[in-house]
């Protein structure tokens, strides 16, 4: 494998749950992003690309591949990202 100068673009699937899925009217969307994109970059792209996503809070709780992450988390091609409404278990 040779490394290239610019990171390759990536595609992630975004899952929405509970109230967020209701508000947006979707529970899964695919998003293409430039290489090196973070969760914060993904949220910015979603606000532009997905109608009604912009009405969700600016900094929602997010998970990548079934674990909580911070907005600075770097994404990889094929990641499953979840945007989580306030948790209410128990």
């Amino acid at each position: 494998m040779t490394s290239s100068t610019a990171p390759a673009p990536l595609t992630v699937s975004v899952r929405l749950f509970a109230r967020y899925a209701e508000v947006v009217g979707e529970d899964c969307v695919q998003v293409a992003l430039p290489g090196g994109a973070t969760v914060a970059d993904l949220l910015a792209a979603l606000r532009l690309q997905v109608p009604r996503f912009a009405v969700l809070p600016a900094r929602p709780l997010c998970a990548v591949n079934l674990a909580h992450v911070l907005p600075s988390h770097a994404l990889r091609d094929g990641d499953e990202v979840a945007v989580l409404p306030p948790l209410a278990g128990g």
Partner: protein
Amino acid sequence: MTYLTESPLDLTRLLARVHGADRGGIASFLGVVRSHHQGRGVLRLAYSAYPEMAEAECARIVAEAETRWPVQVALEHRLGTLEIGEAAVAVVVAGAHREEAFAACRHVIEELKRRVPIWKREEFADGGVDWVGAEGAGAESQ
């Protein structure tokens, strides 16, 4: 291990999982559906989850507790529609003594509430329906 279930929770079944001859202290917590929320009468609740992550997060919480204290933990959370008085979550912790059993039980329920992706939708006596913990922006704007 499966931590999520659509069936009614059974404390005795969880107790049997952690019971042992060397475990002299057993603590349990049961979270039960309440008849009111912030002054409004509640008829029933519907619990939903991000199931794959909820299972993974429950497994991490149980493993953490069993590493931090010399205990064995049984944990289940119910999904689907629950009536008032039904148990939504059950934790049973067995250790040699009560100190570690109480401490680990408290840890497991607090971490579950903080970390496990489960949501509840309340159906109110006044006819309203709302997600618990919803932040205002854009909520229920239909």
